[in-house]
């Protein structure tokens, strides 16, 4: 019951989507299974929110070190959730103006939009932006042109970075556009690398990934890989 039924559900869920691809009659089954998946994925967000609430409330209640940050996290979570679920400050849809809840939840000017625009967006964008420093720092420490392969990697990265900037255009600007060597202009060379060498490497990688995903999926569907069920009895 605890392990066999999930294995059967996994098999059926996957097989419905696979046969829907080959048999037109079953296409609607596949579409329905895909919508079920979307619904469960949305409910998984609720599970995530519930888990966050549970863990941070426990931290606050136990007064563990840094519990104040948990309070901030909980306040941010509850405020966003309240204004979002309650569609607070959202005007009705102009086509259905007598339906107070008909407006879109992220309407421009609403408190939920405000939290997204001035909270979520700058915070996440800056989090990713500071990775620029860490990538550069890691590259500086890790990359050494100690063999031919490393030189290829470093050289390509350098050319791509330079070729996509104005400095690259200026550096090889002396080469006439209509000359036989115009392909050596950094902006053209970058395009050539991307369209030829990068395409070739990426194609092989994508073929490899596809084969890997297909074999892993088959292992999961056929019950060979059961790691997602965990090892415990409960």
């Amino acid at each position: 019951m605890k392990r066999t039924v999930p294995l059967i559900i996994t098999f059926l869920g996957g097989v419905v989507l696979i046969i829907a691809y080959f048999i037109p009659y079953t296409q609607a089954w596949g579409e329905k299974a895909a919508v079920f998946f979307d619904v469960l994925a949305a409910i998984a967000f609720v599970l995530g929110g519930g888990n966050l609430l549970k863990n941070h409330l426990k931290k606050v209640s136990d007064r563990v070190a840094g519990w104040g940050y948990s309070v901030i996290c909980l306040v941010a979570f509850l405020v966003t959730l309240t204004v979002g679920l309650g569609k607070i400050g959202v005007n009705p849809n102009t086509q259905f103006s007598n339906y107070a809840w008909s407006g879109v939840y992220d309407q421009v000017g609403s408190p939920f939009w405000w939290l997204y625009e001035y909270g979520f967006k700058p915070l996440t964008a800056t989090m990713f932006a500071i990775l620029a420093f860490y990538v550069a720092s890691a590259a500086f420490r890790a990359f050494r042109a100690k063999n031919f392969e490393a030189i290829l990697l470093l050289g390509t990265a350098f050319i791509i970075l330079l070729g996509r900037t104005y400095a690259g255009v200026v550096l090889t600007g002396f080469i006439p556009d209509d000359s036989a060597f115009s392909g050596l202009k950094l902006e053209n060379f970058t395009v050539y690398i991307m369209q030829v060498f990068n395409t070739a490497g990426n194609r092989a990688i994508m073929i490899g990934i596809a084969l890997g995903v297909a074999s892993t999926s088959l292992k999961v569907l056929l019950g060979v890989d059961r790691s997602y069920l965990g090892s415990g009895g409960d």
Binding site: Y69, I130, F133
Partner: protein, 370 residues
């Protein structure tokens, strides 16, 4: 005072001094947002033989009705606030100081300052971990968890779950546009509802195994979708794209740049060396990389040489990927810096709008300048 406290004090002092300098030099004209108030009014009308309908009183459709007869309780009004340019506000105030169409927006201004604080708080981690970064980190965790919950609720759970199980109920309050075929009840959707409840059971102290059933469904459908998606979208299409001609012929171009045509008026095709070379390099690259990925044979002899060539192609690919990743991150960094120096401090002027804003607002603030 230890070294850390001193460093943070100096950073704060410098930051505060810079903001004060900016306030003095700009006359307080930065980091502000303005909105334009747009009143909306809808009236309930009914044409002979038709159902009652709500229309925008400013629309062309409204001209067909006598709206003066419609009582106040059959009208709905609200005001939308659209972001506007400071110069529009300045011009409107110059024309009529009592106007209320263009307004200073406290909440959007506060939002800009809060965004600036969050941006600087995250940047502060570049020096070292600190309470400001931790505050920003806590806020992003809380806001993003709730954000995705709200998105999932309004864009999936309501239309795709409750909208299928109780279409009439959902139609009556949240989705008035739910009509026709999509408004039919479909009790198959009780399955994801039950599985969803089972998934949430994971939060309960006992019976966590119950959540395995919905988890199994998620894993199974993901495996099915990925299996077909990757085989069709990547495996087959990449092989198909790689099967190209290595003897490429293209339309010949005359010295004056026009295509050469034969007696029948068709383009004259000729051997294109560079395109052919390009195709050959791609095919050799793909095959050699695949040889490198093939571990059933020892990489010796001709196989080893092909694998070595594959490594070179892969190194170029990784170099290009690295270059693009760095470019992407730097672009994001540039956007954040642009926000700080343009939207917040009004120091940069990439779109040439700030000069007009500042001059216009100064004129409005100090009429003696005009």
């Amino acid at each position: 005072m230890n070294r850390d406290t001193m460093t943070w004090t100096i950073i704060f002092a410098i930051g505060l001094a810079l903001i004060l300098i900016r306030i003095v030099t700009s006359g307080g004209l930065f980091g502000k947002a303005y909105v334009k108030a747009v009143p909306r009014e809808y009236a309930q009308v009914a044409a002979p033989g038709e159902d009652e309908n709500w229309i925008d009183v400013t629309s062309e459709e409204a001209l067909d009705y006598d709206l003066t007869q419609i009582p106040a309780d059959e009208r709905i009004t609200w005001t939308s606030y659209n972001q506007t340019h400071p110069i529009d506000y300045a011009n409107a105030m110059a024309a009529d100081p009592n106007q209320s169409v263009y307004q200073f927006s406290f909440w959007r201004t506060f939002g800009i300052w809060l965004s600036a604080f969050f941006t600087l708080a995250i940047f502060s981690f570049l020096y070292k971990d600190n309470p400001f970064y931790k505050i920003a980190e806590s806020v992003v965790v809380g806001v993003s968890a709730a954000y995705w919950m709200v998105v999932g609720f309004w864009s999936v759970i309501i239309p795709n779950l409750f909208g299928k199980i109780y279409p009439e109920s959902v139609q009556s309050w949240a989705m008035p546009g739910l009509t026709g075929e999509s408004a039919k009840q479909d009790l198959w959707y009780l399955i994801p509802l039950i599985l969803g409840v089972m998934l949430l059971w994971r939060l309960a102290p006992k019976g966590a195994w119950i959540a395995r059933w919905p988890l199994a469904f998620i894993i199974g459908t993901t495996a099915g979708m990925r299996l077909m998606g990757f085989l069709h979208g990547d495996f087959i299409s990449q092989i198909r794209n790689s099967i190209t001609s290595i003897y490429v012929k293209t339309a010949q171009i005359a010295a004056d740049g026009t295509p050469l045509l034969d007696a029948a008026g068709l383009p004259v095709m000729g051997f294109d060396f560079w395109e052919s070379l390009r195709s050959i390099i791609i095919i050799i690259g793909v095959l050699s990389c695949l040889v490198y990925f093939f571990f059933s044979f020892e990489h010796k002899g001709i196989v080893g040489k092909a694998a070595k060539l594959g490594i070179w192609f892969l190194m170029i690919t990784f170099g290009a990927a690295f270059g693009f990743t760095v470019m992407g991150r730097i672009a994001l960094l540039a956007i954040r810096l642009e926000f700080l120096f343009d939207d917040w401090l009004w120091l940069l002027d990439p779109s040439g709008k700030r000069l007009a804003d500042t001059v216009g607002l100064l004129m409005q603030s100090f009429p003696m300048l005009t």
